[in-house]
C-alpha cells in the first residue's frame, strides 16, 4: 500500500451522487493532479457518510475535517487552502456539533460510539486492502486459529449480542441451535432485506463496509458448521448488491471464502440473492421461501429455522447489523463488548432518524442512550424551528411515542428501539394521517396468506380512509381497536402481528386527535381533507 500524506473521502452515497458528488470528485482529482499532489494525496470514494442533508460532502484526513455542501466551484479553494496551505475553509466546514464522521476521526463526543460503523466513510468499500488495514479479517483469523467453534459460540453468548433486526433474539443461542442441529448441510443467511420504512442502516453498512458482513458470516459458518451462505438483499438496493458482490468476489480471490479458508480446512461460500420487491421477505421464513424460488410467504413455526430452515436444513438467519458486530466481539472479546450498553442490551445500536429532523442520517450509539440524545443531539432536533410532536420508533411496525418518551433510554429494559428507524414528526403533522399511511403500507405489503392480515389490513385502511375524510364514528375506533388486537393475536407472522401496534400506541397517546376526526370531523393539524360527502365515502 502506497503512503499518502492525506486522504480525501468523497461521500458517494446515493443522496450525494444525486447532488453532484461525482462531479466534485472528478474536479478534485483533476485539481490535485494539476497541482502535482496526486502522489501524496489520495481521493477515495466512500459510502454515505450519514450526512444526507448536507451532501456532497468530503472529509480530509488525517485532520478529519468535514466539508459539507461542497460544489465543483468550491474544490479549487479547498485544494488551495487546505491541502496546500493547511488552512481550513471555514465557511464549508461542517458544524461543530456535527455527527458521524468527525467522531470516527477520534473526536471526543461521548454520545456516538462507532463500532459497526467505524470504517464507514473511512475506507474505500471496494478495497479489501483498506478493510484489512483497519484490522479487517483479524477476527476471522483469530477464530479459525485460536478458537474452537464452541469457543466462538461461547464468546457470542457471553457477549450478550442480541439480533438487531427488531426481535432481539440472542445471537449466540441461535448459533448454538444450528450448531447442534443435525444436517448434512447448514446455511448462514444474512437478512439484508431492509424494508422497514425509516430504516436505512443496513444499506449504509453494505455500501460502506461490506467485508464486515462477510467476515461475520464466515465466523458464523465456522461456529455452526455451515457450508453455504446467502446475503438476501432487497432488489431496490442496487448499490448494496454491487458492493457486496464485489466484496465477495475479492474475498474469494483472497481465500477468505471458498475452500479451505485461511488454510483452516473451512469450506464456506456466499452468494448474494437479490430480492424482487416484497417487504414480507424480511420475515425470516418468507425470506427462505423466496430463496427457494417460491412466493415470499411465511412458513409455519415451529419448527424454527435454526433447526429447519433453508431447504429444510439448519439455518442461521442474522440481520446485517448483527453480523457486522461479530468481528468486533471476536477481536475485542465478549468482556469488552458486554461492558457497552445496558444490563440486557449489550453493545451499540445504529439508529436512522428521519422525518422532520434537521440532519437525517445514521448514528451509532451505545444501548441506553436516550431518545433525546439521538434526535436532538445527533440529528439536530426538529428542522425549521418547529416543535417536536412524536416519533414512530422502529417504523410502521413499531410504536408511536410522544414527548414524555424523549428521556427514556433506548434499550430493551426501557424503550425498545426495534430495528432502529426513528420517524420524527413535528407539530404540523397529523397522527391519523401518519397511521393511515402506515396502514396503507401494510395493506400493500401483506403476503395475503392468512385471513386476519390479508383482510384486516384492508379494513384498517378503509376505516382510516373514512376517518380522514370525515365520515368516521366513535364506534369505529372500538372496532379498529378490536381488529388490531385480533391481528396482533392471530396473524401468521410478524407482519400482521405488528401491523396494528403503531395504531394501538397512537390511540392512547393522541386520543383527542382521533376524537377530533371522528366526533368533530376536523383534523387539528389541517392535514386530512375532511370535506368529502359522507355517502360518497362510505357507500
Amino acid at each position: 500500500m502506497a503512503f499518502y500524506r492525506a486522504h480525501i473521502l468523497v461521500d458517494s452515497g446515493t443522496a450525494a451522487v444525486l447532488k453532484g458528488a461525482n462531479a466534485v470528485r472528478n474536479t478534485l482529482i483533476e485539481e490535485i493532479k494539476s497541482r502535482g499532489l496526486d502522489k501524496e494525496i489520495k481521493v477515495v470514494e466512500t459510502g454515505a457518510l450519514g450526512l444526507a442533508g448536507a451532501v456532497p460532502a468530503i472529509v480530509v484526513y488525517p485532520e478529519g475535517v468535514t466539508y459539507a455542501n461542497v460544489t465543483v466551484e468550491d474544490v479549487p479553494e479547498i485544494v488551495e487552502e487546505h491541502l496546500l496551505k493547511g488552512r481550513r475553509v471555514q465557511r464549508l466546514v461542517y458544524k461543530d456539533d456535527t455527527p458521524a464522521v468527525v467522531k470516527a476521526a477520534g473526536s471526543a463526543r461521548s454520545a456516538e460510539m462507532r463500532v459497526v460503523l467505524k470504517n464507514i466513510g473511512v475506507i474505500d468499500p471496494t478495497s479489501i486492502d483498506e478493510y484489512i488495514a483497519m484490522s479487517g479479517y483479524e477476527a476471522l483469523a483469530k477464530a479459525l486459529t485460536a478458537m474452537t467453534p464452541e469457543d466462538v459460540i461461547a464468546e457470542m453468548k457471553a457477549s450478550g449480542l442480541n439480533g438487531r433486526g427488531g426481535a432481539g433474539f440472542p445471537t449466540g443461542l441461535k448459533w448454538e441451535f444450528t450448531a447442534k442441529a443435525d444436517g448434512d448441510i447448514k446455511y448462514i443467511v444474512c437478512n439484508a432485506d431492509e424494508g422497514e420504512p425509516g430504516n436505512f442502516k443496513d444499506r449504509l453498512i453494505m455500501e460502506g463496509d461490506p467485508h464486515q458482513i462477510i467476515e461475520g458470516m464466515v465466523i458464523a459458518a465456522y461456529a455452526t458448521g455451515a457450508q453455504k451462505g446467502f446475503i438476501y438483499i432487497r432488489g431496490e438496493y442496487q448499490q448494496s448488491v454491487a458492493n457486496t458482490e464485489r466484496a465477495i468476489d475479492v474475498a474469494r480471490e483472497m481465500g477468505l471464502l471458498g475452500c479451505d479458508i485461511m488454510g483452516s480446512g473451512l469450506n464456506f461460500d456466499i452468494e448474494v440473492f437479490k430480492g424482487a420487491g416484497a417487504y414480507i421477505c424480511g420475515e425470516e421464513t418468507a425470506l427462505l421461501a423466496s430463496i427457494e424460488g417460491f412466493r415470499g410467504e411465511s412458513r409455519v413455526k415451529p419448527p424454527y429455522p435454526p433447526t429447519h430452515g433453508l431447504f429444510g436444513k439448519p439455518t442461521v438467519i442474522n440481520n446485517v447489523e448483527t453480523l457486522a458486530n461479530v468481528p468486533h466481539i471476536i477481536v475485542n472479546g465478549a468482556q469488552w463488548y458486554s461492558e457497552i450498553g445496558t444490563a440486557r442490551s449489550k453493545g451499540t445500536k445504529i439508529f436512522s432518524p428521519c422525518g422532520d429532523v434537521q440532519y437525517p442520517g445514521v448514528y451509532e450509539v451505545p444501548f441506553g442512550s436516550t431518545l433525546r440524545e439521538v434526535i436532538f443531539g445527533m440529528a439536530g432536533g426538529i428542522k425549521s424551528g418547529k416543535k417536536f410532536k412524536a416519533v414512530l420508533m422502529g417504523g410502521p411496525s413499531g410504536v408511536l411515542v410522544g414527548e414524555d418518551a424523549l428521556d427514556r433510554r433506548l434499550c430493551s429494559e426501557d424503550l425498545n428501539p426495534g430495528a432502529g428507524a426513528l420517524i420524527v414528526l413535528d407539530e404540523t403533522k397529523c397522527v391519523v394521517d401518519l397511521i393511515r399511511n402506515c396502514a396503507q403500507f401494510f395493506l400493500h405489503e401483506s403476503c395475503g396468506q392468512c385471513t386476519p392480515c390479508r383482510e384486516g389490513t384492508k379494513r384498517m385502511v378503509e376505516l382510516f380512509d373514512w376517518w380522514a375524510a370525515g365520515s368516521g364514528s366513535e364506534q369505529d375506533l372500538m372496532l379498529a381497536d378490536q381488529l388490531a388486537t385480533t391481528m396482533a393475536l392471530t396473524s401468521r407472522c410478524g407482519l400482521g402481528q405488528f401491523a396494528g401496534v403503531a395504531f394501538k400506541s397512537s390511540i392512547s397517546l393522541f386520543e383527542d386527535e382521533y376524537l377530533a376526526h371522528l366526533a368533530d370531523k376536523s383534523c387539528p393539524a389541517g392535514v386530512c381533507d375532511m370535506d368529502k360527502v359522507e355517502e360518497e365515502v362510505r357507500a
Binding site: V300, R454, S491
Partner: protein
C-alpha cells in the same frame, strides 16, 4: 413414541409427542373450529380460525400446526380466543357475497356452519368486496372466486394429491387470488377436470358445471326419450346427501327416485362395466399373447386420461383402447338400444349420474360420437342428481325399492366394484382367470388388490401364469407409477389399474361433500357389500352381456366392438399459450 403432558382448558392430558394441539384437543373431545385444515392435506395454518391461547406465547397459536410440548397449557375457548375468532370470521364474511340462499353450498357450507358456531351476529366490517367474474369456461368445474376464502385447500389438493398444479395463489396481500394456470380461464389451463378441488372446498367457490336445467327440459319434453345410467360409486354415497350414513347402500331407492324424477328408463352403468371387463380383459389377453405394449393400463377414469395425455403422452400406447363404461353405455343406447326399442336415436337423451366431474369433459370429447350422435348428452354428479331429487320433493331414504330396467340393468358384482380403487383390476382378474384357465375361481374376493394404500402391487397366479398387477389411485401416485414404467420398474407387469381420485370413483370429484378418508372407507365397504350381495359376481357370467354379444357385437374386440366401444387418445401440450393444433396419435 414418547408422551408429553399437557393441559387443555384445565384438563390434564398425556398425549403422543408430535401431535398438533388440534389433534390433542380432538382426542380429548375438545372441538376447535377449523377451515383451512383438511385431514387429507398438508397443514398450512393460514385461516387462523383454529387459533388458541398457549400460555407463555405473546400471540395466539394456530392449533392445526402448533405442536404439543411438555408442560404446555392451552386454552381453546378463552374470551380472547373467541373474540379473535369472531373477528376473523367477520373479516371473511365482509369479503364474501351474502347470497347464501342462492348458493350451491347453502346449508352444507363450512363458512356458514362456522358463522353459526361462533355466534356471528353482525358483520361489522364494510367496504370493498372482491368482484371477480365467475369462470364457467370448463365443462367440469365452475369457479366463483368471490366466494373463495383463500384457505388454499384446492391448491394443496391440486398440487399435492393430484400433482397437477392447475390452481395456485397469484398476486399478493388483499389482491391475492387463486387462479388457474396463467390466470386465465380454467378451460385454458392444464386442468385434468378431476374435481378433487371441489370436494375439499369449504364454501361455494368451486362447484360442478351443472346441466340439470337442460335435463329438466328434456324430461318435460314429451318428444324425448330420456334415459339415465348410474355409475357404481353413486349408490354407496348418494344417501349422504339425504342425511344418511356414508356407505349406506341405496341402489334401489335411487332407482325409484330417478323414476319419480321422470326418467323414462333407469339403467345401470354396471352393465357396461361388465362389458368393459370383456373388452379390456380380451385386449389384455391379446397383448400378452400377441406381444402388445405392456403393462396395459386401464382407461375408465377420464381425469386419469386427461392426466396422461398432458403429462405422459409418450406412454399413451400403454392405455387400453376401451372407452369408459359411461361412454360404452352412451354408444350402445343410441345404437343397440335404439334399434332394439325402435326409437330414433336423435330422440334419445342419454344422461349419466357419475361420482365425477371429469365425466362431463369426457362426454364432450370429439371422439365420443360413435353412434353418430353425442353418445352421452349430459353428466350429472351425485350431488346434482340429489339436488334434482330434492327439487322434485323426493325424500330418498323413505322410498320403496325399485328395479333397474332391462336390458341395461342386469349387472354383476364385478361391475359394482368398479367404484373402488382396485375394483377394475379385481373384476378383470375374475374374468381373466376363468377365461384363461377354463376353471372356476374358488374365491372371487381378490383381496390382494383391495385397500387404500396409494400403490398396491400383487402377483396373481392365473393357472400356470403369474400375472403381475399394480393398482394406483390419486394422480400423484399415478405419476410415481408412470415414472416407474419409464424407468423400467414395471416392465414385467401385465396390467395396471389407475384411478384419478383417491379411493377410486367413490372418492370422485362429484361425490357428496365432505369426502374424507373415513367417509371413503365407508363407501368402499358399501361397494364391497353390494358386490357380496350380488348373485352374479363375474362379468362374463352376465346373461345380458352374453346376449349383447350374441345379438349385436359378435365377440369381444370384434370389428363392431372396435367401432363402438374403443377409442383413441390425444397428446396434449402443457404449453397453453401457443395455439398449436394437437396432433392425434392412433393407438392400436
Amino acid at each position: 413414541m414418547a408422551n408429553v403432558n399437557i393441559k387443555i382448558n384445565g384438563q390434564d392430558l398425556c398425549v403422543d409427542e408430535g401431535l398438533t394441539v388440534l389433534q390433542a384437543a380432538q382426542q380429548a373431545g375438545i372441538g376447535i373450529p377449523t377451515l383451512c385444515y383438511h385431514a387429507d392435506l398438508a397443514l398450512d395454518g393460514v385461516c387462523r380460525v383454529c387459533s388458541v391461547e398457549v400460555k407463555g406465547q405473546r400471540a395466539l397459536c394456530a392449533s392445526c400446526v402448533y405442536p404439543v410440548s411438555e408442560g404446555m397449557e392451552v386454552l381453546t375457548h378463552s374470551p380472547k380466543v373467541r373474540n379473535a375468532r369472531k373477528v376473523i370470521v367477520e373479516l371473511m364474511l365482509a369479503n364474501h357475497p351474502q347470497d347464501c340462499l342462492i348458493c350451491a353450498r347453502n346449508q352444507n357450507c363450512e363458512l356458514q356452519a362456522m358463522a353459526r358456531e361462533l355466534g356471528v351476529q353482525d358483520v361489522r366490517f364494510t367496504g370493498d368486496r372482491k368482484d371477480i367474474p365467475t369462470d364457467s369456461s370448463s365443462t367440469s368445474v365452475v369457479r366463483d372466486p368471490d366466494k373463495c376464502i383463500l384457505c388454499g385447500r384446492c391448491v394443496r389438493t391440486c398440487q399435492d394429491i393430484q400433482s397437477v398444479g392447475a390452481l395456485h395463489f397469484s398476486g399478493r396481500g388483499w389482491d391475492t387470488e387463486i387462479v388457474a394456470g396463467l390466470g386465465g380461464d380454467l378451460a385454458d389451463a392444464v386442468c385434468v377436470s378431476c374435481g378433487q378441488c371441489i370436494n375439499r372446498c369449504p364454501t361455494g367457490a368451486l362447484k360442478g358445471n351443472d346441466p340439470s336445467a337442460k335435463i329438466w327440459d328434456a324430461i318435460y319434453d314429451p318428444a324425448k326419450h330420456v334415459i339415465v345410467q348410474t355409475a357404481p360409486a353413486v349408490r354407496a354415497s348418494i344417501g349422504e346427501e339425504f342425511g344418511m350414513e356414508p356407505g349406506s347402500r341405496v341402489t334401489r331407492k335411487m332407482v325409484t327416485a330417478l323414476r319419480m324424477l321422470g326418467f323414462d328408463k333407469v339403467f345401470d352403468t354396471d352393465f357396461t362395466a361388465d362389458l368393459t371387463i370383456m373388452e379390456e380383459g380380451s385386449e389384455l389377453i391379446q397383448r400378452v399373447t400377441k406381444g402388445g405394449v405392456l403393462p396395459q393400463i386401464t382407461s375408465c377414469s377420464p381425469g386419469w386420461i386427461n392426466f396422461i395425455e398432458y403429462y405422459y403422452p409418450e406412454l399413451l400406447p400403454h392405455l387400453s383402447s376401451c372407452k369408459s363404461p359411461q361412454q360404452m353405455f352412451g354408444t350402445l343406447t343410441k345404437t343397440y338400444y335404439a334399434e332394439k326399442m325402435g326409437i330414433d336415436p336423435k330422440d334419445i337423451v342419454s344422461v349419466s349420474i357419475m361420482p365425477c366431474v371429469a365425466k362431463k369433459f369426457e362426454c364432450d370429447r370429439p371422439e365420443m360420437y360413435s353412434s353418430g350422435y353425442k353418445d352421452v348428452d349430459y353428466v350429472l354428479t351425485t350431488r346434482e342428481a340429489a339436488a334434482m331429487m330434492k327439487e322434485a320433493g323426493i325424500d330418498l331414504p323413505s322410498l320403496e325399492d325399485g328395479e333397474y330396467d332391462a336390458p341395461f340393468g342386469i349387472t354383476t358384482g364385478a361391475g359394482a366394484i368398479f367404484g373402488n380403487t382396485g375394483g377394475v383390476m379385481e373384476a378383470a382378474l375374475r374374468t381373466a382367470y376363468e377365461l384363461i384357465t377354463g376353471e372356476a375361481l374358488d374365491d372371487v374376493n381378490i383381496t390382494a388388490v383391495r385397500g387404500t394404500d396409494g400403490i398396491r402391487e400383487a402377483t396373481i397366479q392365473v393357472g400356470a401364469l403369474p400375472v403381475k398387477a399394480a393398482v394406483a389411485h390419486g394422480l400423484a401416485t399415478a405419476r410415481e407409477v408412470l415414472e416407474g414404467i419409464k424407468s423400467g420398474r414395471y416392465k414385467d407387469y401385465a396390467f395396471i389399474e389407475i384411478m384419478c381420485c383417491p379411493g377410486g370413483c367413490i372418492g370422485g370429484g362429484g361425490q357428496p361433500q365432505p369426502t374424507n378418508e373415513e367417509i371413503r372407507k365407508k363407501r368402499i365397504e358399501g361397494i364391497y357389500a353390494e358386490d357380496g350381495a350380488m348373485e352374479l359376481r363375474k362379468s362374463h357370467e352376465n346373461p345380458a352381456i352374453k346376449a349383447i354379444y350374441e345379438e349385436f357385437l359378435g365377440e369381444p374386440l370384434s370389428h363392431k366392438s372396435h367401432d363402438l366401444l374403443h377409442t383413441t387418445y390425444t397428446p396434449r401440450s402443457q404449453r397453453t399459450v401457443k395455439s398449436e393444433k394437437p396432433t392425434k396419435v392412433q393407438i392400436d
